[in-house]
Subunit: 520 residues, 2 copies
């Protein structure tokens, strides 16, 4: 039962329906105008909740039963525990014991630690996953064996989908490093501290039923209440909700690769020469090795020129925290913390502020923070000669990464992709990306170890870099050089016919899809 | 065109309709079960908002026009500026200049400084007010001259009404002591600092259009963003949004009346003897003279017995702040700040935490904070022998006060009304309250200078106070004694036929109504 395919505004063939439901095709940047109303969960009443505020129930299975778990429901969770999550495998084991089938799993992202859930996909407990799939679950999805079609959304797109009623969450599971029995919950304290719980905000606001699961129950009030207990139905205590060593690392690593270091340095020099680095500016750089190194180079420039940023957007790390502490920025506006220094700073420094996919990224809000950022540094698995980029599939076509905040960040005033020219001798600059995740018109600069390509749409940046000592090149020349080195263009991936995943744009339209690969 | 009247579960005749719309009659405490879904505002898109986040428009009138102001719309505002508000008169003057009619004004409360708005009620710019009316606007409403029927709601009831879609706000006006051009706003800084902006939360979440008005524009990001800019359409700068001397007072006054002091002392001794004052307990006391004095007496008891509260619920004052600073409580959970010490503490002390009508009071949530409070001390204009109480009308029938958080606080574990036996030689303890605002079953203790009456429903409290040195009395005996002193029962108010205001219960049902009085 293959879905009908249509061509969207980016020239990609995409399914008209996902798991039997119609979804609009991508229409271009800022072209799709939503017409509906926000999701409207059922009205609750305090009369149905304990007057003393104690919502504790004995165990997870009891909580799921009380929530009315049944076939076909949607179960959501956040991924702030990353690869240290100890909750979701238990949730689906409990669901299997309760003999429910065809659940939709709606995580903000899934990780290798959740690979056991493949068994629940095989047995039919879970019908399909909508959410980023890092590693084994993505690989499984790529084989085409999942019953339903996966849907990948950005962090902002996930908020949008919930807010707009595109995804109705029946039961939200919110694993919380600290909580009280009323359901107030925070991520910045406790043995499983992860920093923020922002990815669970939409879930708490719009799910019909919300279960908070914690291993650190404190007396009311748990503060800060990153999650409001007023939105929570049940609280469950577990011995251990996360593995701290896999939730956060003590330190975050800067790249040691000479090529990556060069790319990072180019990126820092680029934003300086383009006049972006000035008092009151802002930037976002993730926790990857190149991005971290970019921040370190930028720090040197800022120190030398006595420049202070107004804000830095996290994912925060010890390196950003140090910039805050050294007075190089007024604020860190943080969506997730990647190391212990980040968690501690978020908890203790009032200038290290928690943000959410709603404030930062939701495209169906009255503006969001992403477009206010002066420069954003992002990764990509592939870029094409029209600056379109891929972030979810490898050149072999396998779906191994999530979108994260990547699509949302493209709206910054200057979006820079510092990437290597090739990986494993396969060119990264291609004629056409395997999977389109970000439209080229939003990607301003591609920075490689062999040259910097500026999007011709950004004549202003071209002008600013005129006469620069940096190696400014045409992307076609860069591509040719790389193909020379690698012995030609990369082989297109050998994909099957089955659409295994739809890729959503920030506005809920389908920008591309992923086909099955081999059977591995 | 009089509305049809029916008798509700409290035995009160109430209108079936308010301004032509049906509303359910009161059915008893925790009896009404809501069946609908939450309000669902239209979905926005960032594509319709400036990418640089700058939502500033030149003036108020322009903002109102851009919001599509037209006849019959609902305009809301918060009352954190209290009697120092300099914005709302300007808003309705602008509306009058724009020649719109029949607006519904939906403030969280109105104050004497807004008396000029009576002209707009007379001219038909405003059809009616839904919100607490303190002073002249209440007096005007009482005359029966307002075109529509007023509706009074508690703070929690106002949130409930907006959340449930009972009141759809077309344009929310959010006067903000500090804001950025994106619309992030806070009340804890700036020349017009008022502390929290919690009363505007529902407005920001559910209004179709939101205008932030400030006299202290700061660079993005304005922190804390008590109001999310992501919910704001336009930002307007005014020279002065509030008169600081009328927003907060430098000091909050303890009563000097010997009778009130005695009542406050009785109240403090009562909660001590009833075993409520123990480590980890919680209480709420407002900013009135008696409530403040209660807190002072309680402080002495806590110091003497080395007892620490887990939290104190504000309205905060210098007295509560001192208790926090002296380590007599872990937290102040604060809905509004009544003096400068409160504002400063809320801003600077992480243990002084802002709450909202959503977290504290919304009855149509999954629980709220009010029912978790061990003891709450509240005022009343009248109490009857069944412990029913009135807080909005005087014995002459005139509507001169709002409900505030009063109804919501009745859900505390021990609700105490410390009130004088009579005012102006008119008994406060009556056969039947002029206006029913709170059902007797939720009012546990009435404390007067002539004795303490415990609600017979609270046999547990009766038992605890057995043998107490405090003057525990039967409420009938107290009433008889007061009538002796005052020379008989109070005269019932001389009211007309017209229903000028409906009084909502916390769940949106009509618990009582107010009739017109004289023509003054």
């Amino acid at each position: 039962m293959k879905p009908e395919m249509i061509m969207n505004a980016a020239g990609r063939m995409v399914p008209k329906t996902i798991n039997g439901i119609e979804h609009p095709a991508y229409q271009g940047v800022a072209k799709f105008k939503p017409s509906g109303h926000r999701a409207a969960p059922r009205i609750s009443t305090c009369g149905d909740y304990p007057a003393d505020g104690n919502k504790l129930v004995g165990d997870l299975k009891t909580a799921l039963k009380k929530c009315g778990l049944k076939n076909g429901m949607t179960i959501s969770n956040h991924h702030h525990f990353r690869n240290g999550d100890l909750v979701m495998n238990k949730v689906f084991d409990a669901a299997a014991e309760l003999e429910v089938k065809d659940l939709r799993w709606f995580p903000s992202a899934s990780f290798p630690c959740q690979a056991p859930i493949i068994e629940h996909l095989k047995s039919g407990v879970i019908h399909h996953i909508e959410g980023s799939m890092n590693g084994p679950l993505g690989a499984y999805c790529s084989t085409g064996k999942m019953k339903g079609m996966a849907v990948l959304r950005s962090h902002g797109g996930r908020y949008q989908a919930v807010q707009d009623g595109e995804v109705k969450i029946d039961i939200a599971i919110i694993a919380a490093p600290t909580a009280d029995s009323f359901g107030n919950a925070t991520g910045d304290q406790g043995p499983s501290a992860c920093g923020s719980l922002g990815f669970a905000l939409a879930d708490s606001e719009y799910a019909e039923k919300v279960i908070v699961i914690t291993d650190n129950l404190v007396e009311f009030p748990c503060l800060p209440w990153q999650i409001n207990g007023n939105r929570v139905d049940y609280v469950v205590e577990l011995d251990k909700v996360g593995d701290p060593s896999k939730i956060v690392s003590g330190t975050t690593q800067i790249t040691k690769s000479p090529d990556r270091l060069l790319i990072a340095e180019y990126a820092a020099r680029f934003v300086e020469e383009a006049g972006i680095v000035k008092d009151g500016f802002s930037f976002q750089a993730g926790a990857g090795g190149t991005a971290l190194s970019f921040a370190i180079y930028l720090r040197e420039i800022m120190l030398e020129k006595k420049i202070k940023a107004r804000f830095i957007r996290g994912g925060s790390t010890q390196h950003l925290v140090k910039m805050l502490e050294d007075g190089l920025t007024d604020y860190i506006l943080d969506g997730q913390t990647f190391d212990l220094a980040g968690v501690e700073s978020l908890r203790d420094n009032p200038r290290h502020v928690s943000t959410s996919p709603f404030t930062s990224y939701n495209y169906h809000g009255k503006g969001n923070f992403a477009s206010l950022v002066d420069a954003t540094v992002l990764g990509a698995t592939e870029v094409d000669i029209n600056f379109n980029a891929n972030v979810v599939t490898h050149s072999d076509g396998r779906l191994l990464h999530g979108i994260g905040g990547w699509q949302n960040c493209l709206f910054s005033k200057c979006t820079i992709l510092p990437i290597p020219c090739f990986r494993d001798r396969i060119p990264v600059i291609v004629d056409k990306v395997t999977t389109l995740c970000g439209p080229g018109e939003l990607i301003d600069v591609v920075i490689t170890e062999r040259g910097i390509a500026i999007n011709p749409l950004r004549q202003d940046l071209m002008d600013k870099m005129h006469g620069s000592s940096l190696p400014i090149v045409d992307i076609h020349d860069l591509q040719a050089e790389v193909e020379d080195i690698c012995g030609g263009k990369p082989q297109p991936p050998k994909t099957g016919d089955k659409v295994v995943a739809a890729i959503k744009w920030v506005d809920g339209t389908i920008i591309d899809c992923v086909k099955s690969v081999g059977g591995n």
